[in-house]
């Protein structure tokens, strides 16, 4: 065999870029989440029952006992009269003290009934396991079809059952039919074979993918080959559950309520079979066509929090009020300042008066008395006070007038005493000298700081100059340096993010180190206690470095002023520089552009082709179906996607056709590959199946795939047609009568070409 074509299976995704302005604007497709399928009261249709009264043995109840829908009607009907899900809600109403039973769609009536819903079928199988519910559903069906007499339904029953039904469940069904409803006879057949018969099939491969399972049954000349049939444990219900699982993982904090009934709707309405899964999949989140063709938004009910909008006059009023109160405060402050000033001036007046009195005092004693009365040590102290007050008054006056402080004046102060040796000074002089020295050191320190600032400014300017020089003379080096700096910043940002994430994870190295430090702190030092009740002191804090431990154990990054500036801001300024001077650095390469939502695959996956506003309740209540639309139906061809350890549909079909039949039969089967069941309603199912089969069977064989005229109802129609159109001998050969049931036991049944084969003696005999 030679390789005829080569194709890359995994292709790189084309990065989405925002649509050009001249493109036609697309609008997102938003659909509302469906409500529960409550259909209101269904009136009974008794005329069919009355009509059949004349020929009660010839006309039968036909019930397609499907695990998603039970379809029921009479054998002379064109279509089933009632279609109900096989569910029942039964409970005792405490308020009215009576038992309630709601069946089918009625069970969705309100929250109480929904909470009590039980399914007749075991989830994920086509086997009835809850017989109380099954009886409820049959009761409902018979009531609605008009049965009103006591003592049984009085008509034969034609019923479908799954391929290779379990002996036990058939026995139970027989008991229910014959004991509870006193049916005169019951006939069982396989739904897919009824459907095939309805579509006039004779020889072919019947593929029936329904709610709980997918069956493949080869049929030759009207006879099913039971030995070669196969079941794939994947159907509509599994697809719904898979979708629900995926959506819960996709939106883990979704505020709306997703349920399996909605998933049914989504699978039915939005999913389709991809013709070339891998190719279509790898471009599914590409920008072009994402919104127009692939992304579907489901809107769940929500309430938008609307902040009360303030009117303009209200805003004006508020501003006015704010200004008013500000003014009041200012006035108060000014008044207080004025009061203080007045007080100080009065004080000064008083001290000046005192000084005058002191100077004019006739005797030393009098002088002394004046000073002592105001607790002054000597004249100098009094003068100092006056000086200080003068200064203060001047200062506050200046402040009121808005004049600048004459700070500089301080610096021109002279300190003459400092140059005079101590020996030449008296006690007062020495004191003053000390005071001057103190003042001088303060002034000097201020000057030093100023010079330092000046130097720093000069250094920065020099650096800038050098940088400029480097950029002009040695551009390559300059760019390389900038790029290195940028890389450093990027890695710093990344490190920070990692640290932040690790903080939440107890198993991370950082957290473990932290726990270790805390444990060490707690257990530090010797444990013995000093006798005599003395507190043990571990000297913590004696060394300044001890306090650093709080920095290391703090979970929140310290946000004090020592913390260097935000690396993101530094990065932004750096990138601005690069953008300006480096011709190789484009807008696209900036950190912001790289992390833009339009570049994000995850964003396209979660939020589609529009920016996401986390504040908006509307957007928070949306789910986007995109990849799921082909991922979920694909499982039937690749069950491994959902963890089903079985071969795909095409591989099973190939195994049946090529592995177990002779060439003539192979051709006969492939000429009529018949597809039926609700799970085959996906758009493109037959085409894909044909493609897949084409790839695995011999090229000389002709393949024809056809779909049932109505994949959901044809099983029922086939059963009804079979009963009403076939000869009574054929019917009787397939039917178990009540006499036979009573005589031969509850597991007795008859083989016929539309029903199951007799199970082995072991599981049927008893």
């Amino acid at each position: 065999m030679t390789i005829k074509s080569v194709r890359t299976l995994v292709t790189n995704r084309q990065l989405p870029s925002p649509p050009a302005d001249d493109l036609r604007p697309s609008s997102p497709r938003v659909c509302d989440a469906p409500d529960y399928p409550f259909k209101g009261w269904q009136p009974p249709q008794p005329e069919g029952y009355r009509q059949s009264a004349a020929t009660s043995i010839e006309t039968a109840f036909v019930i397609d006992n499907g695990s998603s829908t039970v379809k029921a009607g009479f054998s002379f009907d064109k279509a089933p009269r009632f279609m109900v899900p096989p569910i029942m809600a039964r409970y005792r109403d405490r308020k009215n003290n009576k038992a309630c039973t709601f069946v089918g769609h009625d069970a969705y009536a309100d929250a109480t009934t929904r909470g009590q819903i039980r399914n007749a079928f075991e989830p994920g199988t086509s086997i009835v396991t809850n017989w109380d519910v099954m009886e409820g559903v049959l009761d409902y069906v018979f009531i609605k079809l008009g049965v009103d007499e006591e003592g049984g339904i009085g008509r034969p029953v034609v019923m479908t059952e799954p391929m290779a039904n379990l002996g036990y469940s058939r026995r139970m069904m027989n008991e229910v039919m014959f004991e509870c409803y006193s049916a005169p006879s019951v006939t069982y057949g396989i739904d897919s074979l009824f459907s095939y018969r309805h579509n006039r099939g004779a020889s072919g491969l019947v593929i029936s993918s329904s709610h709980t399972a997918t069956h493949l049954v080869p049929v030759l000349a009207g006879k099913p080959l039971y030995q070669s049939c196969a079941r794939l444990n994947w159907g509509g219900s599994q697809a719904q559950e898979f979708l629900l699982k995926l959506l819960r993982l996709k939106y883990p904090t979704f505020p709306g309520k997703m349920n399996i009934e909605q998933m049914e709707e989504y699978v039915r309405r939005y999913c389709y079979i991809s013709q070339d899964y891998d190719v279509e999949l790898s471009h599914y989140l590409d920008w072009s066509g994402l919104e127009e063709e692939r992304d579907i938004i489901i809107q769940y009910p929500y309430t938008e929090h609307i902040a009360p909008e303030k009117s303009t006059e209200e805003l004006v009023r508020i501003a006015e009020r704010k200004k008013e109160s500000g003014r009041r405060l200012q006035e108060q402050a000014a008044k207080m300042r004025l009061d203080k000033l007045i007080k100080k001036e009065q004080e000064m007046e008083y001290y000046k008066q005192l000084h005058m009195n002191y100077v004019n005092a006739p005797t030393k004693k009098e002088q002394r008395r004046l000073l002592d009365a105001d607790d002054f040590k000597d004249e100098a102290a009094l003068e100092r006070v006056i000086r200080e007050l003068e200064k203060k008054i001047r200062k506050s006056r200046n402040k009121d007038l808005g004049a600048a402080d004459e700070e500089e004046g301080m610096e021109q102060q002279t300190f003459p005493l400092l140059d005079v040796p101590d020996e030449e000074l008296d006690e007062q002089g020495i004191k003053d000298k000390r005071h001057q020295r103190l003042l001088k050191s303060g002034v000097e320190a201020r000057l030093r700081a100023k010079a330092e600032k000046e130097r720093e400014r000069a250094r920065v300017a020099e650096e800038e100059r050098l940088d400029l020089e480097k950029r002009e003379n040695n551009f390559d080096d300059w760019v390389a340096g900038r790029r290195v700096a940028r890389d450093n910043l990027l890695s710093k940002i990344k490190d920070r993010e990692r640290l932040k994430q690790d903080a939440g994870n107890r198993k991370s190295l950082a957290s473990q180190m932290r726990m270790k430090t805390l444990a060490n702190l707690a257990s530090d030092g010797p444990k013995r206690k000093r006798r005599g009740g003395g507190e043990y002191d571990d000297d913590f804090g004696a060394n300044d470095e001890d306090w650093g431990v709080y920095r290391t154990v703090a979970t929140e990054p310290a946000s004090d002023e020592e913390e260097e500036e935000d690396p993101a801001a530094a990065l932004r300024s750096l990138e601005a520089e690069l953008l300006r001077y480096d011709p190789d650095f484009t807008e696209k390469e900036t950190f912001d552009a790289q992390n833009d939502w339009t570049k994000s695959l995850i964003h396209a996956f979660l939020r589609g082709a529009r920016p996401f506003d986390p504040e908006s309740q509307k957007e928070a209540h949306q789910i986007h179906l995109n990849v799921e639309r082909i991922r979920v139906p694909e499982v039937i061809f690749q069950p491994g996607i959902a963890g089903v350890d079985q071969a795909g549909l095409a591989e099973i079909a190939e195994g049946i056709v090529m592995g177990r039949t002779n060439p003539a039969e192979q051709q006969a089967l492939l000429r009529d590959v018949f597809v039926t069941g609700g799970n085959t309603l996906f758009k493109g199912f037959e085409d894909r199946l044909r493609r897949e089969l084409r790839g695995v069977v011999d090229a000389s064989l002709m393949i024809n795939v056809r779909r049932a005229s109505d994949p959901v109802l044809d099983a029922w129609k086939g059963a009804a047609g079979w009963w009403s159109k076939s000869a009574s001998s054929e019917r009787n050969a397939a039917t178990i009568t009540k006499d036979e049931y009573l005589e031969k036991g509850s597991e007795y049944f008859r083989e016929h070409s539309l029903g199951n084969s007799i199970a082995p003696a072991a599981s049927s005999g008893s």
Partner: protein, 192 residues
């Protein structure tokens, strides 16, 4: 409860409930004398294991029968514990058992032949389940998060991922979520 005046909306809803409730009607059409077994609701696993046990017991008795199989002499097998008197006394017993066993085997074998001749092994619910895929091309890998084709596997969480952005997501998943992703693919192995 009767004291409180019901809301009009409540009342109409209650009327609807009364209308769709079938409790009273279903009593009429059913056979009142029929009391089903309380334990008839069995799940599929129970049913299958019961039928398999039955099958196994039939097969076992079948194996222990037939012309070539030596008939186990129940009396003599007990060895020295029994006296010869007892053995001679029970000589007749094995014959009856042997006859009974032969008869049942005969019926079984005949049944089996009749079933087995045209078609081979019987078709049961369990054995029509299709086998795992043996085709190497069918083990394609897809990203666990997005479903896109995937070439890489995170060795830590064993999740498959599409590209480095998804890898960033994989590495920042909260605890336990990675397991849920694996479970959706059926790859979450829990050893008990």
């Amino acid at each position: 409860m009767a004291l409180s005046t019901p809301q009009p909306s409540d009342d109409s809803h209650q009327q609807l409930l009364d209308q769709i409730d079938i409790t009273a009607q279903r009593e009429r059409i059913r056979n009142r004398n029929w009391k089903p077994s309380q334990r008839r609701n069995k799940n599929v696993k129970q049913i299958i294991s019961e039928s398999q046990r039955k099958e196994a017991s039939v097969l076992a008795s079948q194996n222990g029968s037939g012309a070539s199989t030596p008939f186990p002499a129940t009396g003599t097998n007990t060895g020295g514990a029994m006296t010869p008197v007892n053995t001679s006394g029970s000589t007749k017993q094995p014959n009856i058992a042997q006859a009974a066993q032969n008869l049942s085997t005969l019926v079984l074998e005949k049944n089996l032949q009749r079933n087995a001749l045209p078609v081979g092994p019987a078709v049961t619910y369990t054995n029509i389940e299709s086998a795992p895929s043996l085709h190497p091309a069918h083990s394609k890998h897809y990203c666990d998060i997005t479903g896109l084709p995937s070439r890489y596997t995170d060795p830590k969480s064993r999740l498959r991922y599409h590209d480095k952005e998804v890898f960033g997501v994989v590495r920042t998943l909260p605890q336990g979520v990675a397991e849920n992703y694996l479970a959706a693919r059926g790859a979450h192995v829990v050893l008990k």
